[in-house]
């Protein structure tokens, strides 16, 4: 058996390249430092647009853009309505890595699958632990347990024997994020406990299953960042030590799985760590729907719920994080913009956003992308018309109930698009800036 044709990917949700580099430098992460000094690079990587976990992880697992895999966020509206729905794995339209190498693509197709068709085997086994946006668990060639959002561990785990095992170790699907503000110590405790459970599960499946591709994801980093990213570098912060301690435990786990993996492949397997986006401290939360109301682009009926508030005659609205949808006739029950007016509405929105400044005069929006330039594929018809990406510090929100356009809350960290990371053997990265959609190809190349 060719031991080089084995791949281990450790996903660290929301871990920024810049922070890892600092922690390695400061000695917080000695194991990662060892790995880097042994022929691996820490590379900064671009996340998907929008830089939300569901979209970014879907881009990672399918290796294609949202226009092909169809996941633009954690929420969508049901066709021809303003009613919310929550996309899950059934909404992922492109085959995932484990489908492509496991022979379970079924009718799913993608440009990536086409590219590797016949070049990689179709009988390889994958172990996938805590991967976001994979609920309900598919019947794959291997083992999978879903990550965020997974409302039901049993439905989120395949096969049943894996579920029995996870139950037996009191595996934690997801920690209680609502504890973060009023019970911070309990929150940190639970995050550590969950991290340990993930590590325990990784090591168990590494040892007790036959596999070719292993993807293990830690999501507690993302939770910590949302509520305590201001503690990451501020040594005077009350929770700085606990935050850093969490990263030393993370580093332990990196070291342990690396060592175990290298021992089992005689040092020849492909090992990577990566994140789905970066993080930055929040200066302001920006509620674009409120801005649109102020600018006359949107009317809301507060008696209704969520996006059903959108009033007739509205021109556009925003869903998390910066997805802007034009209220087109024929697409929505209260649609008011005809297709031929698209460019004028687009220009109006763009000029409003480009000019947007906070009270201190800082520019809020980094760039407004047009959906047509970002997305291509069968699912691009459902894409947002525009996506606004904020400058670091300005967290763009789709909340529809805020009374002002700017605000602050108990959240301390925001996703960033440009500061995801990837640790990979030197010389593995393609030329140019690394993008999360590139990783799948790197993995598949290994199985040729």
């Amino acid at each position: 058996m060719d031991l080089s044709k084995k791949v281990f990917v450790l996903g660290i949700d929301g871990a920024p390249e810049t922070l890892l580099a600092e922690y390695v430098e400061q000695g917080v992460m000695p194991n990662l430092k060892n790995i880097l000094s042994g022929g691996y690079d820490l590379v900064q990587m671009d996340a998907s647009i929008p830089d939300v976990s569901s979209t970014s992880w879907a881009s990672f697992m399918t290796g294609v853009n949202p226009g092909e895999h169809g996941i633009y966020g954690f929420m969508e509206l049901l066709p021809n309505t303003y009613r919310l729905t929550f996309p899950n794995y059934a909404s992922v339209k492109a085959p995932a890595l484990w489908d492509i190498i496991g022979g379970t693509s079924g009718i799913k197709a993608s440009t990536l699958a086409d590219k590797f068709k016949g070049r990689v085997p179709n009988n390889l086994r994958s172990i996938v632990i805590n991967m976001p946006e994979t609920f309900p668990a598919p019947a794959l060639n291997g083992v999978l347990t879903s990550g965020f959002v997974c409302p039901d561990l049993k439905k989120g785990t395949y096969p049943e024997s894996a579920y029995e095992y996870l139950r037996s170790i009191n595996y934690i699907m997801d920690i209680e994020a609502s504890n973060a503000s009023d019970k911070p110590d309990a929150f940190f405790d639970e995050a550590l406990l969950a991290l340990n459970k993930r590590a325990e599960a990784f090591l168990h499946f590494m040892d007790n299953e036959r596999w070719d591709l292993f993807i293990g994801v830690v999501t507690e980093t993302d939770r910590l960042h949302h509520f305590f990213f201001d503690a990451a570098r501020d040594k005077t912060h009350k929770y700085h030590e606990r935050f850093v301690f969490f990263y030393t435990r993370m580093d332990d786990i990196i070291g342990r799985v690396f060592e175990r993996f290298m021992a089992s492949t005689n040092g020849r397997g492909l090992f990577m760590t990566m994140s789905d986006h970066g993080f930055a401290p929040i200066r302001k939360e920006v509620y674009l729907n409120r801005l649109f109301v102020e600018k006359g682009l949107l009317t809301l009926d507060p008696a209704r719920e969520y996006f059903e508030q959108i009033g007739a005659g509205s021109k556009a609205f925003v869903m998390d994080p910066g997805r802007i949808y034009i209220n087109f006739e024929g697409r929505y029950p209260g649609g008011a913009v005809s297709a031929r007016d698209r460019s004028s509405v687009v220009n109006e929105i763009k000029s409003i956003l480009i000019d947007l400044k906070d009270s201190d005069g800082n520019a809020v929006i980094n760039r407004v992308y047009d959906g047509t330039e970002l997305y291509s594929g069968d699912e691009s018809a459902r894409s947002p018309d525009l996506v606004a990406v904020g400058n670091d510090g300005f967290d763009i929100k789709g909340n529809i109930k805020k009374p002002q356009a700017f605000g602050t809350s108990h959240f301390r960290g925001m996703h960033t698009r440009h500061d995801a990371h990837c640790v990979m053997p030197s010389g593995t990265a393609p030329l140019g800036r690394l993008h999360i959609e590139n990783i799948a190809s790197i993995i598949l190349e290994r199985f040729i």
Partner: protein, 267 residues
């Protein structure tokens, strides 16, 4: 006395109480299985006659089978049928494709009904709702007072004991009376079978699908089922505990997802 007979007598007692108390009443007939069962019970209560008007709220979006069924039995049973239509809104093109679903229901159903109640001055409406239909219905009374805005004050309902139903108080604009509140979905089907109550063919399986409840065509979707007669529907209901729960499982998962997303600042 057997179970179905006991249920029937309870319903007939309530129907007669409502008719005595108000005289000027009407019954809402959606042409679905529950209100058709209620209509059957009304006919039994009054020895084959129907002494008050039967209202059908016509949104104009009902299934053609429903209109056919309505007209056939309105004639056969000699009903004084009032067809309620919010003409203004129908002409203005209100429909499931225009406003929100809620707007559509509001205009074409609720407001159509309001217009009829106002025009005819009905003091009470008989409705075919059941306690097991929906969570909030578990709290309903048999005689349920409504104010002039149709509001149901469910947190402050009158006591109802020993078949003594509330008299009319000053704030009560009209009453909703629920003669089959105590029946379950399964009771309805068993009773329909025993009494050979006619039903629209929409409930019966065609090409592997049937409707479990019927209303406006654009807003109804059939369930997977091979039950093509009442016996098979009863057998299906007695064993489909899980499929009923499947729909609810979706609600639960959505609620969990919303809570999780909210805790991370989305929504």
């Amino acid at each position: 006395m057997d179970h179905l007979t006991a249920l029937e007598n309870k319903s007939i007692f309530i129907i007669r109480e409502a008719y005595f108390r108000f005289r000027n009443i009407a019954m809402l007939w959606s042409v679905g299985k529950d209100s058709t069962t209620l209509l059957w019970l009304v006919r039994k209560a009054f020895f084959g006659e129907v002494p008050f008007p039967i209202i059908h709220i016509d949104t104009t979006y009902k299934f053609p089978e429903m209109y056919r069924f309505r007209d056939e039995y309105a004639k056969k049973w000699g009903l004084n049928l009032i067809v309620g239509r919010n003409e203004g809104q129908v002409e203005a093109g209100m429909g499931p494709g225009k406003g929100t679903k809620l707007d559509c229901c509001n205009e074409l159903k609720t407001n159509a009904l309001k217009q009829i109640i106002e025009k005819n001055g009905f003091k009470a409406l008989l409705l075919g709702i059941r306690r097991d239909e929906h969570g909030i219905r578990a709290k309903e009374r048999v005689f349920s007072p409504r104010d002039e805005n149709f509001k149901w004050d469910y947190e402050n309902q009158p006591a109802e004991l020993w078949d003594q139903y509330k008299s009319t108080a000053a704030e009560d604009n009209h009453f909703r009376v629920h003669p089959i509140l105590h029946m379950t979905e399964l009771d309805i089907w068993k009773y329909m079978k025993r009494e050979k109550i006619p039903l629209t063919e929409l409930y019966l399986s065609k090409n592997g699908k049937r409707y479990r409840s019927i209303g406006c065509a654009p807003c109804c979707s059939p369930i997977e089922s091979t039950a093509s007669n009442v016996d098979e529907i009863i057998a299906e209901l007695e064993s489909t505990h899980t499929s009923e729960r499947a729909g609810r499982a979706q609600d639960k998962e959505d609620a969990y997802t919303m809570q999780k997303l909210r805790s991370l600042g989305y929504m």
